[in-house]
Structures are given as structure tokens and as C-alpha cells.
């Protein structure tokens, strides 16, 4: 018999503050389901970052602190080094992880910190009202690229999941999306593996989640969900590094 649909234990009952059609909430839920399934709610320490998801502490029921904009991976490093027994994870936006905080993210990954990082890539600075982010698509209009992002002037968007996969310290790196039920199931698997990379002490676990920002993309929720397919053309979905699956197989 299949289990009835339930609210994850580690998801607080507070209503989300996110805009209609925003997928931060979907991603929160997946993280909570994984926390419950791995039984790590009372061993977790989360770092909430500066972006629309700064209020993560109102939603995920684990010990948590905010870190300054971009510094989540450094804060997570300090926490994990001080308390290696805790499961330490960050939840960051594309601006937080890949612009202002890229060095902290990159260096923590390169060191192989035993932490898990979730980057919500909505190709924009949601919280500050829709300015361009490093991952804004070529041609994409934002409030600071009113004519669309011209790579000649603004450069090309970096593919973070692929870049991190090249680092020895990274045990798991994947890009997923949330715009179909199948993709949501795959996203959850990826999040679980990124946590298992930490639990099994294999290295840095990373998931880049392609997400919507209807309000700043100037779209209704349904069109925004569809538009993620366009994003996937530039940012292909996939698992770019996986030391977790072979490790688990070897255990059997």
C-alpha cells in the first residue's frame, strides 16, 4: 500500500512568503523529505543565505544561522570543522553562491569540505528586484540588462555544476529542474546523494536546482514553469560527478 501524501516532519507549518509560481518552496520541501528519510533532522545545522530564501529558518525545522551575502560556504566550513558530527548544509541563490560568494563556494568545494550545498539557480537576483545574475541567460532581459544580456558586454553565464565537478574535492555535483513530476523525483534523488556525500564522508555535495522567478521574469507561473525548458537548453540537466553511487554499490 502506498503511503498517504504527508507534510515532511522537518518542514515547519508556516505559509511560504514566496511569490506564486516560485519554486523555492518546492525545493524546500524536497530538502525536508531528504532530511526526514536520512533521519538527520536532529543532527543538522543549516546556513541560510541572503536572497529570497533568507527566511529558510521559518520553513526548515533544524538548527540554523544566517550568513552574510555570499559567505554561506565559509560559515558552513567553520561549523563543520568545529562539529564534524553535524550534518551541515547551505541553501543559496545563484547570486549568493556564484557571484558575490563564488570564491567561498569554489574554495570550500576544492578543499572537499564535508558539507552539502544547494544552489537555487533562477538566473536572476530575485530578492533585490530582478537584476542580472551571473547565470542570466544570453539575451535575457533583466532590470540591469534592459536590452537583454549581451555576452559581448556582460560575458557568458558560468555552468557551476560542471565547473565544480572538475574539482577533486567534490564528491557529487548535479543539475536538476523542478518543472515536471519526473524531474522533481530526480531532483530529490540528487539532493539525497549530495547529503550522502557528506554522511559517507566522501567530500563536497552539490546540487544546482533550476528554478523559476515568475515575478522578475515577468511571466505568469505556468509560462515560467514552461520557460525552464529554455533554460535547460543552456544549462543541461545531468549528474556531472558522482562518487556516491559507486561507494554505496561497493558497500553491498
Amino acid at each position: 500500500m502506498s503511503k498517504p501524501f504527508q507534510v515532511p516532519k522537518s518542514l515547519k507549518k508556516n505559509p511560504f512568503h514566496y511569490c506564486p509560481g516560485c519554486q523555492h518552496g518546492v525545493a524546500h520541501r524536497l530538502v525536508c523529505e531528504v532530511i526526514d528519510e536520512l533521519g538527520i533532522q536532529d543532527k543538522s545545522l543549516a546556513i541560510s543565505s541572503i536572497g529570497c530564501s533568507v527566511f529558510l529558518y521559518f520553513y526548515i525545522d533544524v538548527d540554523m544561522t544566517e550568513a552574510p551575502h555570499g559567505r554561506a560556504c565559509a560559515a558552513a566550513t567553520g561549523a563543520k570543522r568545529a562539529r564534524p558530527d553535524l550534518m551541515v548544509f547551505t541553501y543559496q541563490g545563484d547570486g549568493d553562491f556564484a557571484a558575490i560568494g563564488f570564491n567561498e563556494s569554489f574554495q570550500a568545494a576544492a578543499r572537499g569540505e564535508k558539507i552539502t550545498s544547494i544552489m537555487i539557480n533562477n538566473n536572476i537576483y530575485g530578492m533585490t528586484g530582478g537584476q542580472a545574475s551571473p547565470t542570466t541567460l544570453p539575451g535575457q532581459k533583466t532590470t540591469t540588462t534592459p536590452a537583454g544580456r549581451d555576452p559581448e558586454t556582460f560575458g557568458y553565464p558560468p555552468k557551476i555544476a560542471e565547473i565544480l565537478a572538475t574539482l577533486e574535492g567534490v564528491a557529487y555535483s548535479a543539475r536538476v529542474a523542478l518543472n515536471s513530476p519526473k524531474r522533481i523525483v530526480e531532483a530529490k534523488k540528487a539532493i539525497k546523494n549530495a547529503f550522502l556525500a557528506q554522511i559517507k564522508n566522501l567530500g563536497f555535495g552539490f546540487v544546482e536546482i533550476l528554478s523559476t522567478c515568475p515575478i522578475n521574469w515577468k511571466m505568469d507561473p505556468v509560462s515560467a514553469v514552461k520557460a525552464v525548458d529554455k533554460v535547460i537548453e543552456y544549462f543541461p540537466l545531468g549528474i556531472f560527478k558522482d562518487k556516491v553511487t559507486p561507494f554505496l554499490k561497493n558497500l553491498k
Binding site: T65, P68, Q107
Partner: protein, 361 residues
């Protein structure tokens, strides 16, 4: 009874020994002269004691590693020198807002910009008034010799935990790099159990969270008022050293290395019959306004106050605030890297004395 070990140590080494005496568990830092002995010594000593040493990729990373470690309740410390401290300032504000007990050491070098690596007291303003955005306060301890650097660094951990607030140990480069005798005394450093507040995994209790964002105006006001109350309660930590006698006509106010020069100058002048006193703030925040004001108001003769500093005149502003116009305050600035001799100070003090006399006539 076992005698305390006496060694010859630089100020920066004394800081490490002080931190270890306080059972500091984590050190994160990024190299910068003139304080590299601190990370180097920590990298050897901490792992031996089951602690954590990690060289960060920048001061930005280092201070946020401290933030993460402190969040778990671990005793954690970073050190840097002036430009590196500037880079940490945003995070100092977060540490204060989140109420995490971090210990930060600044071994000051000359500025502005890259400045120089010679001695300086140029970061007085930054440490006491401008170490980040928003209304918050650092507790600032300014040792003036290796022994004090050892003891105050250890004490810094206790104070950080007592107030759940960042504490800075502010040292001039010359104190950091000079070797002097140091007694590795056993110190009684009180511990405040982190279990009551820290992020340790929500086992057998509700989860906890720390935030500095309050979009609700009333909530932000309450948060600020709570912090303000805490800063007011820190006033009882005021420390200073004073040598003042009835009839003194000049009072020299100085901190750190400059206070040592001043002390030597006034001792010598006193032996020769001059009436000069000495006042050294040890806590720069909270600044000893009240004791200083009392000295001025209780003086039998009008006092002149001379404020030599290894900068272009910073602490002098606090001295003026303290005396509330009841004494003449004279700034004696020595820009970074220009170290005066006690003879130079004596000349300046004598000038003041003559002026005081002539005024009395």
C-alpha cells in the same frame, strides 16, 4: 607548587599562548604581515590539542568560518592586520547582530591603503567606532606588553561568551614583534555553557535559529534596543591604569606601545620633581570616560592633557569627550611608523608644564 614557566616571547606569540590557555578550539586566518607568527604557531599547536587550524582563502572567508564555528559554541579566533580587518568588517556587524562570541586580533600596521608594515595605532577609530555597518559595538582590549597580551587574549574568550559579542584584541605591530619576558601563568577563564543557546543539532529540544534580518520595524527596534542594553551593561568591563598625584599639572593619556613610552617619560620626570601623571585606557571600548573625567574634576590645579598616539590623532577625540571641556586637551600625533623616544615625549611634556606655569602667573 609548580612554578609558572617563564619564557621570552613576541607579543603575537603571547596572544597564541593566551588563546591556548583559554582552550581556543578553532583558528581560521589569512596571512598578512606583521602577524603571520599567529597562524604559523597555531598551525603547529592547535592540532596537537585536538583543535582545528585552517588557512582560509581570504579574510572574508576566515571571519565567516569563525561565524560558523562560533554558532556551534566552539571557542574560535581569527587574527589579521589592518587591511585584512577592513575586509572582515561586514561580518563583524553580523557577528554582533547574531550575538556570536568571536575573538578577533588586530596587529595594527600603518595605513591608509596598503600603508606599511611598521607599527601603528591607526585603527583606533575602526576598532572603537567603525568596524562595520549599523549600531553595534566591539569590546576592544588594548594590551601594552606581552604579559598583558597573553592575559587579555585569554580573557577575551570569557568576555565574548559572557556578552555573546565579538571581542577585539588590538595590538600595535611593535608590541607584536618585540620579544619580552612572558610568564605562562595559569589563568582562571570562566566558561559559559554554550548548550543553552548554540547550534548543536536539535536533539531532545526544539530547533534554534539566528537571524539579523527584521523586516518588521517594531521587531528591528526591539532587536536594537536589546543590543543597546547589552552594550550599556558592558560598561562595567572598563579597565585602565592610572598614576596620578595631587598637584599634577600635566596628564599624559596613551594606550598600547605609546603608553609604555609615556610611562617611562613621566617616571623620569617625576623623579626629577616634575608634577606629571599618566592614564592608560586598557579597554578602548568601553572607553574609561568616567574615571578620566573624575581625575580632571578632582584635580587641585588645572590639568593639561597630552595625548600622544601613533596616528594622526584619534583617541584624542574620546579624551575630549571624557573631560567635557574641563581641561585643555593637546593632541600629539605621530603618524604610523614614526616612533618617538621617551626624550621626545619629555620635551613635549615640559613644554606643557611651562605653559601651565606661565598661565598661573
Amino acid at each position: 607548587m609548580k612554578k609558572d614557566k617563564k619564557i621570552l616571547a613576541k607579543g603575537v606569540e603571547a596572544i597564541v599562548f593566551g588563546a591556548l590557555e583559554a582552550e581556543c578550539k578553532c583558528y581560521f586566518g589569512y596571512p598578512i604581515t606583521p602577524q603571520n607568527d599567529i597562524p604559523e604557531l597555531m598551525s603547529r599547536e592547535l592540532p596537537k590539542r585536538g583543535g582545528v587550524f585552517l588557512q582560509a582563502e581570504s579574510e572574508l572567508a576566515a571571519i565567516n568560518m569563525i561565524l560558523g564555528a562560533c554558532a556551534t559554541g566552539a571557542r574560535a579566533m581569527t587574527s589579521s592586520s589592518s587591511p585584512g580587518i577592513s575586509l572582515m568588517c561586514e561580518s563583524f556587524s553580523y557577528l554582533a547582530a547574531l550575538e556570536f562570541p568571536a575573538v578577533v586580533v588586530n596587529v595594527m600596521r600603518g595605513g591608509p591603503g596598503l600603508g606599511g608594515i611598521e607599527t601603528s595605532q591607526g585603527d583606533y577609530f575602526q576598532a572603537t567606532k567603525g568596524s562595520g555597518h549599523g549600531d553595534f559595538r566591539f569590546l576592544v582590549l588594548a594590551p601594552s606588553n606581552a604579559q598583558e597580551a597573553y592575559e587579555l587574549t585569554a580573557k577575551a574568550f570569557e568576555l565574548a561568551e559572557k556578552y555573546r559579542n565579538p571581542v577585539m584584541v588590538l595590538l600595535d605591530a611593535i608590541l607584536g614583534q618585540m620579544k619580552e619576558p612572558l610568564v605562562l601563568k595559569k589563568l582562571k577563564i570562566k566558561k559559559y555553557p554554550p548548550e543553552t543557546w548554540a547550534l548543536t543539532g536539535a536533539k531532545g529540544r526544539n530547533s534554534r535559529f539566528f537571524r539579523s534580518l527584521f523586516l518588521d520595524a517594531e521587531e528591528l527596534k526591539q532587536h536594537n534596543l536589546k543590543l543597546m542594553k547589552k552594550y550599556q551593561s558592558m560598561q562595567k568591563e572598563i579597565r585602565y591604569e592610572a598614576k596620578i598625584e595631587e598637584g599634577d599639572m600635566v596628564l599624559v593619556v596613551a594606550f598600547g606601545s605609546m603608553a609604555r613610552l609615556a610611562n617611562e617619560a613621566i617616571e623620569d620626570l617625576r623623579n626629577k620633581g616634575y608634577q606629571v601623571g599618566y592614564f592608560r585606557p586598557i579597554t578602548l571600548y568601553p572607553f574609561p570616560y568616567k574615571p578620566l573625567k573624575e581625575i580632571v574634576t578632582q584635580a587641585k590645579k588645572p590639568l593639561k592633557i597630552l595625548v600622544p598616539e601613533q596616528n594622526c590623532g584619534q583617541m584624542v577625540e574620546d579624551v575630549k569627550l571624557a573631560v567635557e571641556g574641563k581641561a585643555e586637551v593637546i593632541s600629539l600625533p605621530y603618524p604610523p611608523s614614526v616612533v618617538p623616544f621617551p626624550e621626545d615625549l619629555k620635551k613635549e611634556i615640559k613644554k606643557c608644564l611651562n605653559l601651565s606655569k606661565s598661565r598661573k602667573v
